[in-house]
């Protein structure tokens, strides 16, 4: 599998052209995506134009950007001017972006080539990409299984080698969980480090754009390009200067006892492979300690109330008045009911109902407010833990990728596949899922690092040394 860093150096060294790189990936997509179905749309024309522009720049001897000629896929909930952004929903099926998201613009400014938009669970609500209104995406490791979600299309595209990099969004694990299921790297950056401007909001206080890649170096490179302080996003912050750790030796790594095997949630093979990775880290000189995150068991309910409450408000704008699907009706209320009734899928409706209920007069204190208080407690757990350790290490998911249809009828079982990833979003931390081997059936397993806000560097360091140790 070719790395983005290699593509950039080959293009800069004039060993290959951006157009050649693009054509190769377009061929791979043609070969594989009929089965995988990662892309909702391939931007052949605009991508070709971008690649030509990069080559012209190179020919003219002009300086090239850090992602020169690298094809990057974007999740279908990110706006790219003049292109469709549907959030894999009927309600936005034909919506054309009137502007470009800041993260996507950062890619373009770095001379990346936006190759297409990828499938997802509708409005990023789901953990299997089965909630796409159009079609499910298949896991390249085993096409009878889901790629995870909600950024399943981006994960599958990178895992299948259809593009070296892809953006996803992670609200409760939607980058890290599919990365683990598909066997790629998946980064959920610190809340506020990547602009959300132009990312269609699911849960504003939790959403963060992240990266899929096949190597730790590519993950790092892509993050450094998309991360920026954006005046258009009031929750975006200037990335503070932090000390970069010299190496893994001596790093203190916490293993939360609440996530451990025997807590009931974890698959035996996941536990075994996770243990092997812990052993490798010990050999690299890391020091392990058991830590406690006592409020972990409240994370899932707090998340589903907080995220659904915000979603119920964020999705109000899809009303059939200005853009998107618009159903005819006799009265204004009919237009709303029909548009939203026809436009949203069942999971989206479920969460809008849940969130509307949680914010209603008389229930607000018992649900929304309690969820916020729980969030504070969970954050405090992490603050205390990070007093003792530099980084926390857990399996990314309790089990490897499941089969299509396996959890569709049981939403709570589906929600449980995000149990290890959700607390990170609630606490505003950064998280990185790395490949941690394969199960007996050949299914990828992922493990994740969690670090303090704006401490991506420590996770990158761990990922690098692990990768080089092989």
């Amino acid at each position: 599998m070719e790395k983005a860093t290699e593509i950039v150096s080959q293009i800069k060294g004039k060993k290959i052209t951006a157009v050649e790189v693009l054509n190769r990936y377009l061929r791979t997509i043609k070969e594989k995506d009929g089965e995988i179905r990662a892309f909702l749309e391939v931007f052949s024309e605009s991508a070709a134009a971008q690649a030509r522009a990069v080559d012209e720049k190179a020919a003219a001897g002009l300086p090239l950007g850090r992602l020169a000629g690298v094809p990057v896929a974007i999740k279908d909930n990110m706006l790219y001017k003049g292109h469709k952004a549907s959030c894999a929903s009927k309600i936005l099926e034909n919506y054309i972006s009137p502007y470009t998201a800041t993260a996507v613009q950062n890619l373009i400014d770095a001379d990346a080539v936006i190759i297409g938009r990828t499938n997802m669970d509708e409005f990023a609500m789901g953990s299997s990409t089965e909630n796409s209104a159009f079609r499910p995406t298949r896991n390249p490791a085993d096409t009878s299984r889901v790629p995870g979600g909600s950024s399943g299309g981006s994960a599958a595209a990178v895992a299948a080698g259809m593009c070296p990099l892809a953006l996803g969004s992670d609200t409760g694990g939607s980058v890290r969980q599919p990365a683990a299921f598909c066997g790629t790297y998946g980064l959920k950056p610190t809340y506020g480090s990547v602009s959300r401007y132009g990312l269609v909001a699911f849960a504003s206080s939790l959403d963060q754009i992240g990266v899929f890649a096949n190597s730790i170096e590519d993950t790092e490179l892509a993050f450094s390009v998309i991360s920026s302080h954006d005046p258009k996003d009031a929750t975006s912050v200037k990335y503070p200067e932090n000390k970069i750790p010299g190496g893994v030796k001596g790093l203190r790594i916490g293993l939360p006892k609440e996530y451990a095997a025997g807590s009931g949630a974890m698959d035996a093979e996941v536990a075994r492979l996770f243990g092997e990775t812990v052993q490798k880290l010990k050999e690299l000189g890391a020091v392990f300690a058991e830590i406690s995150l006592p409020h972990t068991r409240y994370a899932l309910p707090a998340y589903y109330i907080a995220a659904s409450s915000e979603a119920s408000s964020n999705l109000g704008r899809f009303d059939g008045i200005r853009y998107g699907l618009s159903a005819q009706g006799g009265t204004l209320a009919d237009v709303y009911k029909k548009t939203r009734g026809q436009g949203f899928g069942p999971e989206v409706k479920r969460r809008i109902m849940l969130g509307t209920y949680s914010l209603s007069a008389g229930y607000y204190d018992a649900y929304y407010l309690k969820a916020q208080k729980t969030r504070t407690l969970i954050k405090r757990d992490f603050d205390e833990a990070f007093g003792e350790v530099d980084v926390i290490f857990t399996p990314t998911t309790p089990s490897p990728a499941f089969r299509f249809g396996e959890k569709v009828s049981d939403p709570v079982a589906m929600y449980l596949s995000d149990i290890f990833t959700i607390p990170c979003n609630l606490a505003g931390l950064c998280g990185l899922s790395i490949p941690a081997g394969k199960s007996g059936k050949g299914l990828p397993i992922g493990a994740q690092f969690l670090a303090k806000p704006f401490n991506e560097a420590v996770m990158f360091k761990l990922g690098e040394e692990l990768a080089h140790a092989g």
Binding site: N77, M78, L79, A85, C87, L92, Y95, P98, Y99, A101, R196, Y197, G198, L199, V200, A201, A203, S204, S205, P231, K232, D233, A234, T235, S309, E310, S312, S313, G316, R317, F318, D319, I321, R322, Y323, L332, Y336, T356, L359, S360, A361, Y364, Y368
Partner: protein
């Protein structure tokens, strides 16, 4: 039948004077702009668009709070008010809910009492918070009803400050006076133009009646669609009558939202389900809490300077003005600055002029001409070259105080000095308008006046005091208005004794 006491509270929305909207950089458009000329992804609720707070609006909101005697919160929080309507593009309005920018203020009103005197009343301001305006729905074009609705988003996202009073008002006149005072204060600190016809100030009224002496509140009615200050007054007067009639008839007032029908001069029930709205307020996750430091507040206070009430008290003490006169020259920030510029001119040049003479000239001649120039007491600039300079106004006042100019000659000199910028004393000489107090000269004119009006002279001799007027009038005419009126009176009386 019992006598009822109206209990009234006002919710005022005022448009803050900013170049751009509350959460995006679109222009806050003039009303004559074509529909949807000033819109962007943010204010039309496109997917993925995010709000960024307009710090100028925050500053103006805080300044308004200080002017209204409010505590400006160190931390205030934006909240989403969720409801569906086509002119509300995000399906939520960004407002403030449980942590507003400003709280616990008070406004002092000077009211005329029954005896014609002045009484002071304090109206408490419950809160003032920032929010964004909605768009405008058009259901008709002119008188033609449409079979569909058009939406103009130019207004959508324009910054508003909602000012909520406590129910401390007890009559239509008090409500009107409160609105006038609000307008004055908001204009004073430069926060809003407060033009109600342009929608820069909107007012909803909450009103209930209770038997006099009762402390429990009656059932409250909200009145909307009030498009002028007069409409507020008229609607309250009408609603007091309507509710009193219901109560006197043994009925109960329905808790209701009513619209003011300007044409028929009555309130009409909206009979809407809106009352059942649950807005599902929650903190806006796209915006951090607003933090206002003590240092910022101090800077703002300095920038605002003296507020009208303090200025009025100082003018009374410093210049010996009556409460009424001090009220006149503190009616607008510009006018009070002009008055002070005149007074400092008086002091600087050592002129012997009582403040009252300066004030009289301002209250009559100056304000009349100001209105003619389409300028106003709020925005006027003492250094404006189109106005008479404070120095020349002060000098004119000094000439009247010294008895060198008669009142009527002063008008002429004032007008001429305004037009030419010339020194009033020079003008007085050039125009030959110096007041003549020379007893000999006046006596000559008096003789001529009597000779020319034997009938009037005869009448006066016979005790008709009124006959004095025409005789003095002749003297004034002969002297071209320069004769000292007191000396002219005395001369006639002396000759006809």
């Amino acid at each position: 039948m019992p006598e009822f006491e109206p209990v009234i509270g006002l919710e005022v929305h005022t448009q803050l004077k900013t170049e751009t909207k509350m959460f995006c950089s679109c222009k806050t458009s003039a009303s004559e702009a074509p529909a949807n000329a000033f819109i962007c992804p943010v204010c039309t609720g496109q997917p993925g668009a995010l709000p960024t707070p307009n710090l100028r609006a925050v500053r103006l909101g805080a300044a308004a709070g200080l002017a209204l005697g409010c505590e400006v919160s160190e931390v205030s929080v934006f909240a989403r008010k969720n409801y569906f309507y086509p002119d509300n593009p995000k399906a939520y309005q960004i407002s403030q809910f449980d942590k507003p920018l400003c709280e616990n203020g008070a406004v002092e009103l000077d009211l005329k009492d029954a005896a014609g005197g002045v009484r002071t009343k304090t109206v408490r301001v419950h809160r003032a918070h920032l929010e964004e305006d909605a768009g405008k729905s058009l259901h008709a074009i002119g008188s033609r009803q449409l079979d569909h609705t058009l939406v103009d988003f130019n207004r959508c996202g324009v910054p508003l400050l909602e000012i909520v009073s406590e129910p401390d008002l007890n009559s239509a006149d008090e409500a009107y006076a409160y609105l006038m005072e609000l307008k004055k204060l908001l204009q004073w600190v430069g926060v809003s133009n407060c033009d109600m016809e342009k929608g820069e100030l909107r007012c909803d009224v909450n009103i209930s009646l209770r038997p006099k002496g009762e402390t429990k509140l009656g059932r409250k009615v909200e009145i909307k669609n009030l498009n002028s200050f007069k409409a507020v007054k008229d609607a309250i007067t009408h609603e007091i009558g309507r509710q009193a009639a219901v109560l006197n008839g043994g009925g109960a007032v329905d808790q209701d939202t009513r619209l003011w029908n300007e044409k028929e001069q009555k309130t009409v029930s909206m009979r809407s389900k809106e009352l059942a709205h649950d807005y599902r307020y929650f903190p806006e996750p796209d915006l951090s809490p607003l933090r206002i430091s003590a240092a910022f507040k101090e800077e703002l206070k300095k920038e605002i300077g003296e507020l009208p009430k303090a200025k009025k008290d100082r003018f009374k003490a410093e210049y010996g003005l009556s409460s009424y006169d001090a009220g006149v020259v503190t009616g607008g920030k510009g006018l009070s600055a002009y008055f002070e510029a005149c007074m400092s001119e008086v002091k600087r040049s050592g002129l012997a002029v009582p403040a009252k003479n300066v004030l009289n000239l301002i209250a009559s001649e100056f304000l009349a001409r100001l209105n003619g120039l389409k300028k106003d007491s709020v925005t006027l600039d003492p250094g404006d070259k189109e106005l008479i300079s404070p120095a020349n106004l002060a000098k004119t006042a000094a000439l009247t105080a010294a008895g060198k100019l008669s009142a009527s000659a002063a008008k002429t000199v004032f007008a001429k000095s305004w037009e030419t910028g010339k020194d009033p004393e020079t003008l007085m000489g050039e125009l030959g308008l110096a007041q003549v107090s020379d007893a000999g000269l006046i006596k000559d004119w008096a003789r001529e006046a009597i000779a020319a009006n034997p009938k009037a002279a005869e009448d006066f001799r016979n005790g008709n005091e009124k006959a004095l007027g025409p005789l003095v009038g002749v003297i004034m005419k002969k002297s071209k208005g320069t004769a000292n009126p007191a000396a002219a009176n005395a001369a006639i009386k002396e000759l006809l004794k």
